[in-house]
C-alpha cells in the first residue's frame, strides 16, 4: 500500500516536469518546408506535440521565440569525437568493431564547433579502410544527458577500391573486395539485418555488387566516394551520403552533380567526414544552401542535413521537429538556408546549451 502510494507520487512528480510551448516565428517541418504559427510543446527533453491549433493547458509555459526554429542538424557521417581514425588496420574484416568505443566525450573544441554550427547530433563511423569496418555510433554534440544515443547504428562496409585496396596483401581490387565481402557472408553479420548498413562505394559496379549480396534484407545507405557524377544514376530512389568539398571549393562539375543526383531521384545527405580530412561543421549548412540553389528545392536541401540525414543513420529520434522526437532545436535569426542567418540558441535534449550573441532591441 505504502509502496503503491510512493510510486504514484513519483509518477505525478515526473509528469509535473514543466511543459514549454515554444512559439517561434516560423518552424521547419519534417519534410523540410517551413510554416508560420506553429507551436512546439516540449517536456523532459522530448517534443510532446507540434501543431497550429494545440489546446494549451494552464500550466504550459509559453515562450515566443524571435526567429526560425529548426531541428538541430544531423552530421550524417562524421569522424568528430574520435581523436584517431577509428580503424583497425591489421585485418580486412572487423565487423564487431564499434566507433562508439572511440568517441571522446570530453567537451572540447570539436563539440563546441559543431554546436556553434547548429549541429546537435553526429553519426560517427569507423574508417572505411576495411571491407567490413564495424558499427557506427550516434552521439549528441552536448547536453548533460546520455551522450551516446545509439552505440550500434549501421554496419559500415566498404567496396570503394580506393579505400580497401592493399597492393601488398590484398584485396588488390574492387572485384577482390567484393569477393572478400561475399566470402565473409555479410548477411550473417550479427544484427545487420535489423540495423542495416552504410556502404562506401565509388562506382556503379560496387553498388550493383552490394545490392546483389545484401538484397532487400539489409537496409542500405550509400556513402559516395570519388565522382558520384559517374555513377549516381545507379542510386535512383536511394538515400546517399555525399562527401562535400570544403566550404567554397565546390567546382561546377560538383554542383551540377548535386543537381543531377537530385533530379535522378537520389535523396542526398551531407556529413563532415571526407576522404582525407574532416570538413568544418559549418560546411554542412553551406552544402544545403548550395543544394537549395542548384536544385530549386529548399525542402530537400533542408532535409539533407536534418530528416534525410536521420534516415541515413536510421534514427527516428532526431532530425525533425515532430511528436516524439528529441528536443534538439536550434533557433535561427532567419531561415537557415538564408546565408545571412545566424544562431540565436541551441537546445539539446531540452537543455539550452548555447546562446548566440545578444540581439539588438
Amino acid at each position: 500500500m505504502l509502496a503503491a502510494t510512493i510510486l504514484s507520487l513519483a509518477l505525478a512528480q515526473a509528469t509535473q516536469a514543466p511543459i514549454w510551448a515554444l512559439q517561434p516565428e516560423r518552424v521547419i517541418l519534417p519534410d523540410g518546408s517551413s510554416a508560420k504559427g506553429v507551436t512546439v510543446l516540449v517536456q523532459n527533453g522530448q517534443i510532446l506535440d507540434v501543431g497550429t491549433d494545440l489546446q494549451l493547458a494552464n500550466n504550459v509555459r509559453k515562450m515566443a521565440l524571435p526567429g526560425v526554429l529548426a531541428p538541430g542538424f544531423v552530421d550524417a557521417f562524421s569522424a568528430y569525437g574520435t581523436d584517431h581514425p577509428a580503424q583497425e588496420d591489421s585485418r580486412s574484416l572487423t565487423p564487431s568493431l564499434r566507433a562508439a568505443d572511440a568517441i571522446d566525450l570530453r567537451d572540447g573544441d570539436a563539440w563546441k564547433n559543431l554546436r556553434d554550427a547548429g549541429v546537435t547530433s553526429v553519426h560517427v563511423l569507423p574508417s572505411p579502410g576495411n571491407v567490413q569496418a564495424g558499427w557506427g555510433a550516434m552521439a549528441t554534440t552536448g547536453g548533460d544527458q546520455k551522450r551516446i544515443l545509439n552505440g550500434k547504428t549501421r554496419q559500415v562496409l566498404s567496396l570503394a577500391a580506393e579505400a580497401v585496396n592493399d597492393r601488398d596483401f590484398g584485396p588488390s581490387s574492387q572485384a577482390g573486395a567484393v569477393e572478400l565481402l561475399e566470402q565473409s557472408k555479410p548477411l550473417e553479420i550479427k544484427d545487420i539485418q535489423q540495423k542495416g548498413a552504410v556502404i562506401h562505394v565509388a562506382s556503379a559496379e560496387a553498388v550493383r555488387a552490394a545490392r546483389g549480396m545484401l538484397g532487400k534484407q539489409v537496409e542500405s545507405r550509400w556513402l559516395l566516394w570519388g565522382d558520384p557524377g559517374q555513377y549516381g544514376g545507379e542510386l535512383r530512389g536511394e538515400i546517399v551520403g555525399m562527401q562535400m568539398p570544403a566550404d567554397s571549393s565546390w567546382n561546377p562539375r560538383q554542383m551540377e552533380t548535386l543537381k543531377r543526383l537530385h533530379k535522378a531521384g537520389v535523396q542526398i545527405t551531407f556529413g563532415t567526414w571526407a576522404n582525407r580530412s574532416a570538413r568544418k561543421p559549418a560546411d554542412l549548412r553551406w552544402a544545403a544552401i548550395l543544394m537549395s540553389r542548384m536544385t530549386g528545392d529548399p525542402a530537400a536541401a533542408m532535409a539533407s542535413i536534418t530528416s534525410a540525414a536521420a534516415k541515413f543513420v536510421g534514427n527516428n529520434k532526431v532530425g525533425a521537429i515532430a511528436k516524439g522526437r528529441r528536443a534538439d532545436l536550434v533557433l535561427w535569426s532567419a531561415h537557415p538556408l538564408d546565408s545571412t542567418a545566424s544562431i540565436r540558441a541551441v537546445m539539446i535534449g531540452g537543455q539550452t546549451v548555447s546562446r548566440g550573441p545578444a540581439q539588438e532591441n
Binding site: F169, A175, G176, R260
Partner: protein, 531 residues
C-alpha cells in the same frame, strides 16, 4: 566520326543531344530495306524488308514493296549485330583479384564498368554483344558475363541515354587460365612473404597443380555437402557447378602443351563443357581437339607489335641475320658483345677500323629496324685485307650473334602473350575449321582502344584472307559466337523473334572498304553514320 562524338559526349560536362539515339514508341514498327541480308548462319537473302518492333525482329519479307518510310541505303548489306565471344572489354585491374590464385566466385557481372568507353568503340565496329571473360592474372579468374554494348541505362549522370552496356547474362562460365600469365610477377617467399606476389603459381606446373587441387577439393566438398559435414564455400560451389555440368568452363591456353594439358585435365576431372580461349597454337593439335570434341574461341593475331604478338622478324630478315656482313678488326669482341638490352637487342656499332686510317671512317652500314644490315653484301672493307682465320671467327661470331639475338627478336618480351603468342597465325581459324574443330573468333582487348584494325570484323576479314570461307567467318562472329555465349536463342541471327540487334554495312561486311553505317540494339538506333 560519330563514334568520337559518342565518346566525347560521355565525358562532356553538359551533354547535349549530339548522339542520334531515337526512342520510338513501343508499338512503332521500323522497316529496313536492304539489298543483301546476311542471316548469320551462312544464308544470304537479297532485296529484303526487315521489320523491327518492340526491340525484336518482327518480320522478314523477301522482295516486298519498299514503304516510303523505310530505312534504305543503296548497296548496303545487313548483318546481325556482331558477337564477340572472347572479349576483355573493361576487364582490367579493378576486375581481377591478384592476391589469390583462386577467386572462382568473383563475378564479372558485379565488377564490370558498364560505362567503359570500350563498349562504344566496339559498338562503332558493329559489335553489339560481347562475352566478357575474366582476366588471366590468377588461375581461377572468376565467372564471365555477357553484355550488350549499348542500350543500358547509364549510371553516369552526365552520359546520354542508352550509352552504357547492359548485362544480359551473369555468371555464364568459369574462367581458368594456364600458361605464363597466371604466374607473372609471382615469386617464392624467400623467407618472409613480402606481399601477395609471394605466392603460387610460379610455373606452368604450378598453375595446373592449383587447378587439380581445387577440383579435387570441390569433389570432396560435394560429398561433404551431401552428408552435411561442410559449410557453404562460394568458390567451391562454382567448381561443383562445373563438375555437375551446370556451368561451362573456359580455359585460356595458348601453347600447344597448355592446350594438351586442358585435354588431359578434361578427362581426369570430368569436365563436361569446355571451351579453349585464345588457343594460339591450337592448329598444332587440331586433331586432338576434334577427337575430344572441345571447342575453341580463337584469339586475334594482332597487327601491332606494341599490343601483340605476330610481328617477329620476317623470313627475309632471319635469312639476313644468318648471313651478316663480314666482321673484322682487332676489337671484334667489343663489337660483338655491345648489347643494349633495354632497347631490345645487340647494338651494331658504327664500325671504325682502326687499323686503316685511310678507311672510309664513319660510313654507316644501312640497317633495318632490327639493327641488321639491309644489304648482306655490303662491304666497305674492299681495301682492307683479312686474315683467313678471321673467316672462321666470323662464323663463330655469327652463331654468337644469333644465339644472343634469336629469342628476343622472336618473342619481343619474355612473358605472357608476347612469348606465348609467337606462333600466332591468322590462318588459325581456317586450319581449325578444316580439321573440324568448332571454332569462333574473338577480339580479346581489340576494342579497348580505338585501334580498329584489330576489331572483330577485321579478325573475320583476316581469317578469310587466310583461307576461311566467308560465310563461315561471318557465322563465327554472329550465330556460332552466340552459341558460345549460350544466347543462340535470341542473338546472332537475323530471324523473326530474335533481338533486333542489326548492323547495316556500307558494302559487303567482309570487304576491307566496308564500315557500319547504322547500328540497332534492341531495335533502338545506337549509331547512325549514314550521312
Amino acid at each position: 566520326m560519330i563514334s568520337s562524338v559518342l565518346l566525347g559526349s560521355l565525358f562532356a560536362f553538359a551533354s547535349t543531344s549530339s548522339v542520334p539515339v531515337s526512342a520510338p514508341a513501343q508499338d512503332q514498327t521500323q522497316t529496313i530495306s536492304v539489298d543483301v541480308l546476311h542471316v548469320g548462319n551462312g544464308e544470304t537473302l537479297e532485296n529484303v524488308l526487315i521489320q523491327v518492333n518492340d526491340g525484336k525482329i518482327s518480320a522478314i519479307i523477301p522482295g516486298g514493296k519498299i514503304p516510303s518510310d523505310a530505312v534504305r541505303v543503296e548497296g548496303a548489306h545487313l548483318t546481325p549485330g556482331l558477337v564477340d565471344a572472347f572479349s576483355y572489354m573493361a576487364v582490367n585491374q579493378t576486375t581481377v583479384e591478384e592476391s589469390r590464385e583462386t577467386t572462382a566466385s568473383a563475378s564479372l557481372a558485379r565488377s564490370i564498368r558498364l560505362a567503359d568507353p570500350a563498349f562504344q568503340i566496339a559498338l562503332a565496329e558493329g559489335v553489339t554483344t560481347a562475352f566478357l571473360t575474366p582476366d588471366s592474372l590468377n588461375v581461377f579468374g572468376g565467372m564471365a558475363a555477357v553484355v550488350k554494348t549499348a542500350g543500358g541505362q547509364p549510371a553516369d549522370l552526365f552520359a546520354d541515354a542508352g550509352s552504357a552496356a547492359q548485362i544480359i547474362g551473369a555468371d555464364v562460365a568459369l574462367k581458368i587460365s594456364l600458361g605464363n600469365d597466371v604466374s607473372m610477377g609471382n615469386h617464392p617467399p624467400f623467407g618472409r612473404p613480402s606481399g601477395f606476389y609471394s605466392r603460387r603459381p610460379t610455373t606452368r606446373m604450378g598453375a595446373v597443380w592449383e587447378v587439380r587441387r581445387q577440383f579435387y577439393r570441390a569433389k570432396r566438398y560435394m560429398e561433404q555437402r551431401k552428408n552435411g559435414s561442410a559449410e557453404v564455400d562460394a568458390d567451391l560451389e562454382v567448381l561443383a557447378k562445373v563438375l555437375r555440368g551446370e556451368m561451362p568452363l573456359r580455359v585460356q591456353a595458348r601453347r600447344n602443351n597448355d592446350i594438351q594439358t586442358v585435354l588431359r585435365l578434361a578427362v581426369e576431372l570430368g569436365w563436361k563443357d569446355v571451351t579453349i580461349e585464345e588457343a594460339t597454337e591450337a592448329f598444332r593439335c587440331a586433331d586432338l581437339l576434334k577427337a575430344a570434341g572441345i571447342q575453341v574461341v580463337a584469339g586475334p593475331a594482332y597487327d601491332q607489335r606494341s599490343r601483340a604478338i605476330a610481328s617477329g622478324p620476317s623470313l627475309a630478315e632471319l635469312r639476313m641475320a644468318a648471313d651478316p656482313p663480314p666482321i673484322c678488326c682487332e676489337n671484334l669482341h667489343e663489337d660483338l658483345f655491345l648489347t643494349n638490352w633495354e632497347d631490345g637487342g645487340p647494338v651494331y656499332p658504327k664500325h671504325v677500323c682502326e687499323t686503316d686510317t685511310t678507311f672510309r671512317a664513319g660510313l654507316e652500314v644501312p640497317r633495318n629496324q632490327y639493327g641488321l644490315p639491309i644489304d648482306p653484301n655490303f662491304d666497305d672493307h674492299d681495301d682492307h685485307d683479312h686474315e683467313s682465320a678471321m673467316g672462321d671467327l666470323s662464323g663463330l661470331a655469327l652463331d654468337l650473334a644469333l644465339l644472343v639475338r634469336t629469342p628476343r627478336t622472336a618473342t619481343g618480351l619474355s612473358s605472357g602473350r608476347f612469348s606465348e603468342g609467337d606462333q600466332a597465325t591468322p590462318a588459325l581459324a581456317a586450319l581449325l575449321d578444316q580439321a573440324g574443330v568448332t571454332t569462333v573468333l574473338g577480339a580479346a582487348e581489340a576494342h579497348d582502344q580505338s585501334l580498329t584494325e584489330s576489331s572483330l570484323i577485321h579478325q573475320a576479314r583476316r581469317a578469310v584472307q587466310y583461307g576461311l570461307a566467308p560465310e563461315k567467318a561471318l557465322a563465327m562472329v554472329t550465330t556460332r559466337a552466340a552459341e558460345f555465349c549460350g544466347m543462340a536463342d535470341r542473338i546472332g541471327l537475323a530471324k523473326v523473334g530474335y533481338d533486333a540487334d542489326l548492323v547495316l554495312w556500307s558494302g559487303d561486311p567482309l570487304s576491307a572498304t566496308s564500315r557500319p553505317i547504322l547500328i540497332l540494339v534492341d531495335g533502338q538506333v545506337m549509331l547512325d553514320n549514314r550521312n
